[in-house]
Amino acid sequence: MGNVAIKANALVKWFGEGEAKTTAVKSASFEADFGELLYIVGPSGSGKTTLLSMISGILKPNEGSVLVEGKDIWQMKSDDIADLRLHKIGFVFQDYHLFPRLTTVENVAIPLILKKMDWNEALKVGLEYLEIVGLKDKAQLQPVKLSGGEQQRVAIARAIAGKPDILIFDEPTASLDGDTGRKIVEFVKTKILNPERCVIIVTHDSRIYEYADSIMKMEDGNIIAFERNTNAIPYMSHEK
């Protein structure tokens, strides 16, 4: 495996105070490398989303540190963290969070626009990424006109349009049927992952485990196992 993309050190996160206090993540440490597809699995409520948020600069941990490409992100100012998210990290949210009032291609262009790219240029690049996910012909449609799997691909196109080093998926297949979910993960493994990129997927969909390079198991806020999957289906990236 390549260089370390993300390093989490003894992360702790709790919510609420006193009686209502729940510790969602209890001292989590792990590493994710470039070129790696890492799965985080575990029952609902085990702290997967909370952990994902802390390592991607969305939720500040109560204790511990996160190094993204060697930089301690929670020592940075909030605008700098926003910049880090914009430039280094791509998100695919659990329920996509596409913008219903924008066209598909405008949705994909959003990270580029936030990066201050000129409008026409951003749409042009957005279209290229729609082509990568096979939806070029749906560019001018509103997301509601697309099927669930197609919307998921739009969300992926948006996540990768900004050329992030790290891609984060929270339960990408939860609301898709088995076949579609499998195709999405296969697509991610074969087309999106590459040696300069690290992809982390939270899932409890055991049907897609064969694509994972590593599988991390969580339970009740703890990491209870971290396994390398030596039989993983390898990536063959076609993306520049």
Binding site: L52, S53, A82, H87, F93, F99, R101, I113
Partner: protein, 378 residues
Amino acid sequence: MSSILKIALKLLVNDRSKFIALLVGITFAVFLMIMMMSMFSGILSRSSSSVYNVGAKIWVMDPAVNNATSSIPMPDYVLSSARSINGVKYAVPIYFGNALVKLKSGAYQAVSVVGLDDATLYGRPELIEGKIEDIYAESAFIVVKDAEFKKLESPAVGTEFEINDHRGLVVGLAKVASGGLFGIPTVYTTYHRAITYIPSMRFTTSYILIEPKHESDIPFIQQQIKKLGYQALTRDQFVRKISDFYTYQTGMGMNVLMMTAISFIVGLSISGQTFYTFILENLERFGALKAIGAKGNELIKMILFQASFTALIGYGLGVGLASALMILAKLRLPSYAAQVTYTNLTFAFFMVLIMAGVSSYIGIRKVLQIQPFDIFRG
């Protein structure tokens, strides 16, 4: 336009129904505010119409006068004293009063009569028919051809009528800059004929009009007149005094102010509410933008842009609608008193800015509060 603002615009405008609701709210508020204020401005300007029409630089009057049409007659010595003040080029009396005209049909019609100084005819109107010298002819009157002209059965030069049981003869038709407020026709005649025809008290001079030698003489003249126990006001001061009277002493101003405030509050609540709903419904979008990496000040820019864009369009529509309605009303009702002034427009504009400001403030607070984590968790 920056691409981020373009996104903001699309989020706003593509939400057709909400955008229209927002526009309707602001347009309605602007429309009401402009209508109220314009009506008031119209009334105020008409209440000073005689001051504008006569055009004198300085008006001398009893200090208790608060409105041009209810003058308090002054004794003759005020005129001679005024004439002897240093810096006075000339000073002439003018008469304002009311009379009853008996029309050919036998109906009576009240008119307001302006009596011009016999020697100078100072304050005379611009004639559109007839010659001003004819005002010296026997029983001569000049009728103002304004919105009220019809009430005198649209007389022509040569028409005879009865005024306070005297014979009257129309020798000219005049036009004046500003129509009056009270809906009665105006006739001009000489000072002497006016006081002969119209019963009056011991004193007859309604106002003394002064032309100063230089603008710089005005303060001294005012001071000297004050020593006589009277008041000398410049045209603007007199107009202000009349406006103040109508604004503060008749309840009219208070009512208009209240209506304006109500329109503002209605507009603010409609637009504020709708904008807030719009922000709430788009909260997830703003949260997603934040998660992807938008900074706080970029989100603030987007919201401010959305609010001010809506406000400006609503303002334009409101002003347009109000003006259109006023033009329409004036076509049908010649004496309809309403005028859009720059002050009104500016005032309404600031009110709209406040609406946009308040709406964005609520929106911005809400958007800055959302945690991308909540979006992330779904």
